[in-house]
Amino acid sequence: MSAQEISSTDIEAVLATGSRPTLMTAVKRLLTAREFPVTAALVALVLFTYANNQLFLSRQGVKDLLLNATIVILLAVGQSIVIISRNVDLSIGSILGLTAFATGTLFVNNPDIPIWAVFVIVSLFGALLGALNGLLVTVARVPALVITLGTLYVFRGFNNLWAGPTQYFADDRPDAFGDLSVDTVFGLPIITLGALLVVVIVAGFMGRTRRGRDLYAIGSDPTAALLFGVPVGRRVFLAFAVNGLLAGLAGVLYASRFNSVGATTGNGIELDVVAAAVVGGVAIFGGSGTVVGAAIGAMLLTTITSSLTTLRVDKFWQQAIVGVLILAAIAADRIVKLRAERRLQTSEAHHG
């Protein structure tokens, strides 16, 4: 993403030797990576909070931070797949609610069901809901914003219809299931490790497989992608289905982590998730950004809440600060892009 940084002499060096970029360019690359600002902000926030309250990075503190971020990370990673393909999924909160309730229902109706089976069944249920979005968007070729705003309502309606006043509580589920979000390995909660694994897999998929790169191509220029022979419909469908799958997974983890699941679970989380992806450097109109960035964005947004509470900042300021952060993220992204453009223009003028 940072190729603009390389000066013409570097280009020649690369062309002449065919060698990999040097350490210098690697460092430059790191500094200009889209993920850099958000990562820096996260590190700064954590360090500042820690300096004021050592408890922030205590064993329990770290665990809480990670656990808080886990579910949003999964959702943001899924969402960024969809956003990279120049779509958006607003129904994500409703899918989370449905799948979380499905998890509770499965355990209550089948007390002996193995935990892995619940993961599989509910994730597939999420994938099915995502696929429905994908189907409507690709087959009917209508804007995702409209379709998923529609399914946001429809899914939420069915969640209310299904759940009614029923809520399932932590003790409706086996202890081993709840322990997934309690027990740690090397200080890292199990579900966070799982989420990290998902981030790595999805990052590999988006960065290093043809299907993943196709999604970038589609988001970058959908018409060109069609002319190119990229199966746009199938790829976009895949993006929505994977997003649904991850939302389903997040739903299972939600049920493991929190006390109750019911009709209102997940309401209103969609804009937070989109915000996390945007803060993490995923361009809202597709084509650029990475899932790692989105995951860090999610981490930043959840951490800021904890951090402000820990710092005893008046809670009424928290939301405003989050808003400013989102604006800063997109403005920073824009400034970087403008500077790169200007540099390109001048360099082109020089080369004639």
Partner: protein
């Protein structure tokens, strides 16, 4: 030339389908309306039967086709559900012909208004409401009263100007005191405590918090207890969970948490029981036994309190009946019979007290199912 006209026609056909699609959806709505009016009937049948069975209420025989509608803060909430369960039972016993429950899916201040409006128009005789905001529902309730409806507030009061009676759980001060008492006991009478409430605007919560603060300040027994913070979980599981977490981090010396809301106490219980603070930090407040049972069993929570929510709805039904029948006006000193719960008196400010709170602990919690 021709081709473009034909293309135009294709366009028209396309639009015609939109029309058909829209009509199909409208048909769906129609079906929804239809299906509900049929389901509403058995409910009133049931009430008629029950009314005949419990024919001991003597003064009400001349008014037989009264209707009552419950408008809770939010549908699909477990606590509300227990309240409404009691309410529907009570309404049936009290002899109401039409019994309905309507309400918003979210607990925002203004969302109850259009439900009140619809009930006004339906000519409902008694509207029982748990207000999300004491003032926001005021004008709408006033309109309903102008149309002849009796207004019974329950669980969470409206501005007293807009209702006839308020069915209160308990004396607000009792609720506050019992929670202070429980927490003082659990932390050994000294240390920092915090409150995790519902929404910042919740009337009942704020009243209890006020009494808790006063009690802590005035009672010398609690001189060593310091209330360090009040946070709001908005009656949202996730938010309450994270607020609890933040409290513990911000106040490392925190000894106990009071959460006077069922969602908040359960979420905090869940957090404590899964963290290293389990057993270190005391938790009490108002909770539903069914939700709190695991936390009592695993030692996270020693004791908490609550009244019987079902009684709220139950008494509200009888109060509504008495108001609609003209037996009481909601003035202080009026009395009415609340079915099997016996006689109730309208207190100062039109408040009817249901009963004392119960303290639940490991010893008695299995005796309750709500």
């Amino acid at each position: 030339m021709k081709s473009s006209t034909r293309a135009g026609e294709a366009n028209h056909w396309r639009r015609l389908t939109s029309l058909i699609g829209l009509l199909a959806v409208l048909a769906l709505v129609a079906a929804a309306c239809g299906s509900d009016s049929t389901t509403a009937e058995p409910a009133s049948d049931g009430s008629a039967e029950d009314g005949a069975g419990s024919g001991d209420s003597d003064g009400t025989s001349d008014v037989n086709d009264l209707s009552i509608t419950y408008i809770p803060k939010q549908l699909n909430n477990p606590y509300t559900n227990v309240v409404l369960g009691g309410g529907e039972g009570g309404a049936a016993e009290a002899g109401f012909e039409g019994i309905a429950v309507v309400g918003p899916l979210d607990a925002s201040a203004s969302s109850q208004v259009s439900f009140i409006n619809a009930e006004t128009q339906a000519g409902t005789d008694v509207i029982v409401i748990a207000a999300n905001d004491p003032d926001a529902v005021g004008p709408a309730l006033q309109e309903a009263r102008d149309g002849g409806a009796k207004i019974v507030a329950f669980d969470s009061d409206t501005n007293p100007d807009f209702r006839d009676v308020f069915i209160s759980q308990v004396v607000a001060k009792d609720v506050a005191l019992i929670q202070v008492e429980l927490i003082a006991e659990q932390i050994g009478g000294a240390g920092q405590i915090a409150i995790l409430s519902a929404t910042a605007n919740a009337t009942n919560q704020n009243e209890w918090i006020k009494f808790i603060e006063e009690e802590l300040a005035s009672n010398p027994d609690y001189a060593d207890i310091e209330l360090v913070a009040t946070v709001y979980g908005d009656d949202d599981d996730t938010k309450s969970f994270q607020e609890a977490q933040g409290l513990l981090q911000a106040y490392p010396d925190l000894k106990g948490i009071i959460s006077p809301t069922t969602v908040g106490i359960a979420a905090t219980g869940r957090y404590l029981s899964t963290s290293e603070y389990k057993g270190q930090v005391a938790l009490t407040g108002l909770g539903l036994p069914n939700e709190m049972r695991p936390f009592v069993k695993d030692g996270t929570v020693t004791a908490f309190a609550l009244w019987d929510p079902a009684q709220l709805g139950y008494v509200a039904a009888y109060a509504g009946r008495a108001l609609a029948a003209g037996e009481i006006s909601g003035a202080e000193g009026d009395t009415f019979t609340a079915g099997e719960l016996g006689e109730r008196t309208v207190g100062e400010g039109g408040i009817v007290i249901v009963g004392p709170p119960t303290v639940f602990n490991a010893g008695n919690i299995d005796n309750y199912d709500f």
